[in-house]
Amino acid sequence: MENHPVFIDNDPQSELSTLNLGPTHPATHGVFQNVLQMDGERIVSGVSTIGYIHRAFEKIAEHRPFYQITPLTDRLNYCSSPINNMGWHMTVEKLLNIQLPKRVDYLRIVVMELARIADHIVCNGVLGVDTGAFTGFLYMMEFREAIYEIYEEICGSRLTTNVGRIGGFERNFNDIFFRKVNKFLVDFPVALKEFENLFNRNRIFIDRTKGVAPVDPDVALGYSWTGPILRATGVDYDVRAMNPYSSYQDLDFEVPVGTRGDVYDRFLVRNEEMKQSMRMIDQCLKLIAKEDSTIFHADVPAYYLPPKEEVYNNMEALIYHFKIVMGEVDTPVGEVYHSVEGANGELGFYLVNDGGRSPYRLHFRRPSFINYQMYAPMSRGMLLSDAIINMSSLNIIAGELDA
């Protein structure tokens, strides 16, 4: 294949060699390949090949009713599926002009921030593993398990959650959910402190990460970076603060930023974000306590599936159920762009609707895809071992990369 990225070096005096990093190298934490041209331990140039788990979600979405697209979004960034789910629900709600009750908004924030913590736990834990410190990873993974158990309480599944529906949640949250969240808020800060004690002033860790892959804010913006890695360069762009969705404007939180955009700064920014997330969850729980505890969805019978008991006993509910499932509900013609702050950056949904049962066109602005394109250019001149932890700190999730 003419386009296949292989370096052909005809110079017999040359000492350069070609290294295939991936597609299934354990250090890359995902299925993507980098063909690197190496001068000893140093990378001269590289070409990224992606698309190994491309599943044509945008094409599939053109053939599915809105509510069936949620499971597709699960599989974008599968480390924080609830954020993708909520982002998609909000996009459709924006199209349909649905106003949600405050309690639903706050419940969504709780779930989304838990997802963000789960995602950052994996990223920072694995960054530790890649620098040779396995212990911190194990301390933290316990709490990802705790978050997955919280997911189980609200939707039954752990990784690909498919949580929530257009207009709210599929069921009300039970007491065990709130107990588990409260327990998490008590236990996790202790573990996070311990984790920070292990890393933040650890000589070996600092030597491996400080000054590695520093990024200038202008360059980061030119490459359309978003998320923690952009904030590590010092740009305080956070969708939650700038274009608050789902009542983030009611909460008091800070946007942590770094100064140099290197791996160490990204690590610190993610740790700080976890603390801010806990702060938000804490505030939301207090706000939820003030709301009517029976509300868990908006009153939009034309779009929100009625409970099964009602479908069997109530004529109207049966009609709505049928119309929603068969895609008979009228939707407004129009186009909408909605973005949420995913764990990796701005996760955007560009939806063009022609009034049919499925979107005319749906495009996902996937932060991993856009963040990753700078990886090969920025690896030039880097040591291979630094390039590995650089990739780790970019937190590229293959599902989100390829869609």
């Binding site: 053939h63 359309s224 909408v336 762009y337 005319y360 856009i370 250019p377």
Partner: protein
Amino acid sequence: MSAITNETILNAINAKFGDTIIVEGEPYGLLTIETGREQVIDLLGFLKGHAVLKFGFLTDITAIHYPEREKPVGVIYHLHSLQNNVRIRVKVFMADGDVHIPSATVLWDGANWMERETYDFFGVDFTGHPDLRRILNVDDMTVFPMRREYPLEDPNRVDKKDYFFGR
């Protein structure tokens, strides 16, 4: 909330580009304009470099295909002014068999993969792009799968046809 209204943006654009711009509207508050490929890079550069508007952030490039239209393939740019917190959508439509547009990589490095993805799925030829190869699909693929004429599944399958549902 944003300090700059869509009207201000439009006035600034109209003063420079005048009748080469068609205003599509403001769906859900997002100003949407249409232009031709001859001035799209000038327009994007103008928006990026404007002292007040400062649309310096390229959020996304994608495309859309309306096979029944005279100009079926449209490239869609989403720009974001981080300083003013306002977004704009720019569309360029092109006739079939003539689907080429200057590359925005001269303005943003980040446009590179976005344009590669758009080429991969819609066959839009971005002239001046440094490395216009397929990105998510295999290299030896011959079609552009997001165009409407390529069905998702077996076109002979009838159990999902609209007429079964009274449409």
